[in-house]
């Protein structure tokens, strides 16, 4: 399907177009527009997939952390730096720290004096005016020494070199005391009072902040490229968040691409498997297949898997090459993998072959829907161009065509979820629950292909018909998520 030719440069170029609203129609995010006419599914969606969150800047987060630090330090009468360390070690839970404080299991020894220093192995003179540093072996006067609250004294030069070496290796909050077997961590002020090089101080402060955010259960760095945003959510759940600056969407719990209905561990396992087996799976990434009826070579250039041969008009399924008439019914079997029930009694070789076949079945569908998403994006671009042309030709207004953009973003959302049903199904135990899952998956798949088919032929599709199809597809998606999503 080819887009219409443009008649003049002015009409084609996005940036030259003076209409401000025009840009708004273009910036449709797939998760943004839930159809307004369905309040019900809107609410269900929110509970299932969306979590309340804020997009914060570095300064906001620093302020947020400092509030906690000040609270703790005034509560326990300790330095802010030590308070920070305790908060970091206890995942920023004030409650846990105060509890440990009550139980007296918090390692607070303020004011380490020379009296409390550990004499083991230290040869010193009678009046304690000089000490032997155990790291550089130098005999130095007392004021040249320093210790953490564990009381292991070393000379300041050695502390400085120790910290510089650790920072250069990328270690920050994890820098510990120099003594053998001592795991006591060095608080921020102690490190900074011993490190003078500006570049290293800056690096240290950057790393420390990164560690604080990573240790905080309510904070996540936006994984978007070069994005400085930190997302805050009160619940640590596998729900979807979107960075307000770079628009990256991700799972708040694991930081990877949003993956419902699959859970964080399963998607990680799946992606690792796909990366490991990429060689084996390569051969299926073909863009062309032969028409099952007239055998002419057909190239797939749209996202829809309901294909029609341009030569013989035969309608078939791109995935399984089956007749499309058998799809979309109660007996839709395209998404399901039929396992060999006697596989346990087969040879090791047969079992390995079967395992590969099963994996490829799921991988092929996972990969295909991912490609369809991209192709449908292109289709949407073509639709935009055509609609732009229509509006310029005064056949309808932007408002008249708005429903098409909504349909396209809904299609993307549904197909995205459908894509992520395949890793879920791959790792499922067979049984009645899997049967139900595969039934719902098949239903969703059928409605998605219907929707895609209708959007590709948007200008000739009745608007009511299209909106009806949108409604059905989204309902199927919500039903599947409601039954199987576990966050």
């Amino acid at each position: 399907m080819s887009g219409m030719e443009c008649n003049s440069d002015m009409e084609c170029s996005d940036s030259d177009c003076g209409d401000a609203n025009y840009e708004d129609y273009y910036s449709n995010q797939i998760w943004d527009s839930v159809p307004d006419n369905d309040i019900d599914s809107n609410q269900q969606l929110r509970e299932l997939e969306i979590t309340a969150f804020d997009c914060l800047r570095v300064e906001d987060v620093e302020r947020l952390l400092n509030e906690n630090v000040e609270l703790l330090s005034s509560n326990l009468k300790i330095t802010p730096s030590l308070a920070k360390l305790f908060l970091y070690e206890n995942k920023w839970s004030l409650q846990d720290i105060l509890m440990k404080y009550k139980d007296d299991t918090l390692k607070i020894t303020t004011d380490v004096t020379m009296n409390s220093l550990k004499f083991t192995d230290i040869s010193c003179n009678d009046h304690l005016t000089e000490l032997n540093c155990l790291v550089c072996f130098s005999l130095l006067s007392l004021e040249k020494f320093n210790a953490l609250n564990c009381g292991h004294f070393f000379c300041k030069d050695c502390w400085c070199i120790h910290f510089e070496t650790q920072i250069a290796q990328g270690i920050s909050t994890g820098i510990s005391c120099m003594a053998k077997d001592c795991t006591n961590l060095a608080p921020e002020d102690f490190v900074l009072s011993n490190v003078t090089k500006p570049a290293l101080r800056e690096r240290y402060q950057l790393f420390v902040f990164r560690d604080y955010v990573k240790s905080h259960p309510q904070l996540r760095f936006c994984p978007g490229p070069n994005c400085q945003v930190i997302i805050r959510s009160k619940e640590l759940k596998a729900k979807r968040v979107i960075c307000s600056i770079c628009k990256t969407e991700f799972c708040f719990r694991c930081g990877m691409d949003y993956h419902a209905p699959t859970d964080c561990n399963t998607i990680k396992k799946w992606l690792t498997k796909c990366a490991d087996d990429s060689e084996t799976a390569n051969y299926i990434s073909a863009h062309t297949k032969d028409c099952p009826k007239c055998h002419i070579c057909i190239e797939k250039n749209g996202g829809c898997n309901h294909m029609q041969c341009y030569n013989c008009k035969h309608e078939f399924c791109w995935m399984c090459l089956g007749d499309w008439k058998t799809h979309g019914s109660e007996y839709y079997e395209c998404s399901r993998y039929k396992e060999n029930p006697n596989i346990a009694h087969e040879s090791v070789h047969a079992q390995a072959r079967e395992a590969l076949k099963k994996y490829l079945h799921y991988y092929e569908r996972w990969e295909n829907h991912s490609k369809s998403l991209k192709l449908e994006e292109q289709t949407l671009e073509e639709i935009k161009l055509r609609i732009h042309k229509k509006v310029m030709d005064a056949s309808g207004t932007w408002i008249d065509w708005q429903h098409l953009f909504e349909a396209a973003s809904l299609l993307a959302r549904c197909r995205y979820t459908l894509q992520y049903t395949y890793p879920y199904a791959y790792y499922m135990e067979s049984g009645s629950r899997k049967e139900l899952f595969e039934y719902q998956q098949a239903q969703l798949e059928a409605e998605i292909e219907n929707l895609s088919w209708k959007i590709e032929r948007a200008e000739t599709t009745d608007r009511g018909d299209l909106e009806n199809q949108m409604d059905i597809a989204e309902k199927r998606r919500i039903t599947l998520l409601k039954d199987f999503l576990n966050v």
């Binding site: 790291v135 072996f137 050695c158 070496t165 120099m178 053998k180 077997d181």
Partner: protein, 151 residues
């Protein structure tokens, strides 16, 4: 080459004056950060009677970073691989600047007395050590006789 830190000079002097029993560590004539080490196989271990050559190198940021140590003599041991690299915590994340060459060599000697197949570096050796210890010990004795007793 930069002047040798006081610490390295002191450690070297002490290693010469009060050597650790069963261990000799001699600095190279041209590079004072490189030590030629010989460890005697501990009594009642499969390595008894063997003399094991090692090399020990003190990196630029020693003692902030651990010394680099490697067996030169071939040895059949679950925590030492074919290249002679040693799996020992104090040579990695458990290193402390307060540890010394002396303590490192003592730990290596202890590792020969008590191999730890649960934290292996040489997987095939560790596997055999776990499922058939007597055969593994026979192998270790055979390797000791073959590679560590000639000179």
């Amino acid at each position: 080459m930069a002047a040798l830190p006081r610490r390295i000079i002191k450690e070297t002097q002490r290693l010469m004056q009060e050597p650790v029993p069963g261990i000799s560590a001699v600095p190279d004539e041209t590079n004072a950060r490189y030590f030629h080490v010989i460890v005697t196989g501990p009594e009642d271990s499969p390595f008894e009677g063997g003399l094991f050559k090692l090399e020990l190198f003190l990196p630029e940021d020693y003692p902030m970073s651990a010394p680099k140590v490697r067996f030169i003599t071939k040895i059949y041991h679950p925590n030492i691989d074919r290249l002679g690299r040693i799996c020992l915590d104090i040579l990695k994340d458990k290193w402390s600047p307060a540890l010394q060459i002396r303590t490192v060599l003592l730990s290596i000697q202890a590792l020969l007395s008590a191999p730890n197949p649960d934290d292996p570096l040489a997987n095939d050796v560790a596997e055999l050590w776990k499922i058939n210890e007597s055969e593994a010990i026979r192998n270790a004795k055979e390797w000791t006789r073959r590679y560590a007793m000639d000179n």
